[in-house]
Symmetry: C2
């Protein structure tokens, strides 16, 4: 029986999800002392690869992995995922519209909005019936309103520290974000039992974790 | 007279270019102890903002800055820059085609190539008359041939350490990369003397630097 392959989002998601994977019985010892490694096959039933959030669906949709663990922000932005199996109680944050204190959200002038998430931003302004210009930014989006590149930003906020440090404030709260488990359609057909076992164990670990958090 | 604004690529380019900017007489003291800051206005004639390489042309083409300092890899990939004024003798590296030892570059099967640079990759294979499938990757592209997502990668190599660590080897050398200074067309018209002075000073600093390197 071939190992199940998981693409796990590198960084904060990884740090929050590894304890859940361990509670599900997966050997994550390599991930605890990984240095520059990105592939982990210590466990006899699973192989984990660490990738950037934006690459999870690339590995999943091409069938290189059967399971992806990634934020709902990326699933919503990219839109092309197959089966979403589980919401995890980690990685909770929220999309917001933010800018400096002089920003007037009700101004009639056509606004320029900088964001790493052009699709989510377009959908939000479409929903509220406003026509805006969107500038896609890859790096520190908080620079955009300060330097005058944009009137405001749509970005993810967890603690709000970055906004505060840059004298930015929240003008609208958009949808919340959390970490999701997605699976590949063909993988689900070929390794159904293995995948459902994994999902069940992860769900139990997640529920226990939630009780502790309460 | 308003300050000239420079968008400087954060990270390795920044570290290599700051000594040149200092030799050109610009106060970069803030950049030497920057912590989380991204905007530096210590100098009386210049303001420097640190941005991701992919965002330099966004700030430049929207007129938020008059000058951008960025790798030729990004200029070639994005293609939409205005005036390129100077080649700096820093940030030298090269695009390569790389894969594991079993890769056969002359195989007739249609190859899958993973890269952060789909335009550069498409142009390369067009030039050599080969039709390939390109998968765009945002993160660690060296994972793609190891996991089976792709047959090979097109990526930038400086020291070759990452390739070696992943048992990848070079199958073709593509174009070299170095750091460039680009300017905004309207900025050049409005602040011509300031910009030419800056370029001349930077060029002299760069030549001195090159002599030291020799």
């Amino acid at each position: 029986m071939s190992k199940l392959k998981i693409a796990l989002t590198k960084g904060r998601t990884e740090q929050q999800v590894v304890p859940l994977l361990e509670k599900s019985g997966i050997d994550c010892s390599g991930l605890r002392d990984k240095q520059r490694r990105l592939i982990f096959d210590e466990d006899e039933n699973f192989e984990i690869i660490l990738v950037k959030g934006q690459d999870v669906l690339t590995y999943l949709n091409n069938g290189t992995v059967q399971i992806g663990i990634v934020g709902s922000d990326i699933l919503e932005e990219q839109g092309n995922y197959q089966y979403q199996m589980l919401d995890l109680n980690v990685g909770r944050c929220r999309f917001v519209l933010a800018s400096g204190k002089n920003f007037d959200p009700s101004a009639s002038k056509r606004k320029i909005i900088a964001t790493k998430y052009p699709n989510i931003t377009r959908n939000y302004f479409k929903r509220i019936g406003e026509d805006v210009e969107i500038i896609r930014i890859e790096g520190s989006v908080e620079l955009a309103p300060i330097t005058g590149l944009a009137d405001a930003i749509v970005d993810i906020v967890e603690t709000g520290t970055t906004l505060k440090e840059n004298n930015l404030q929240i003008y609208a709260k958009l949808q919340p974000v959390n970490t999701r488990v997605v699976v590949n359609r063909l993988g689900l057909r070929q390794q159904k039992k293995q995948i459902y076992n994994f999902i069940n164990q992860l769900q139990q670990a997640n529920e226990k974790f939630s009780e502790v958090v309460k």
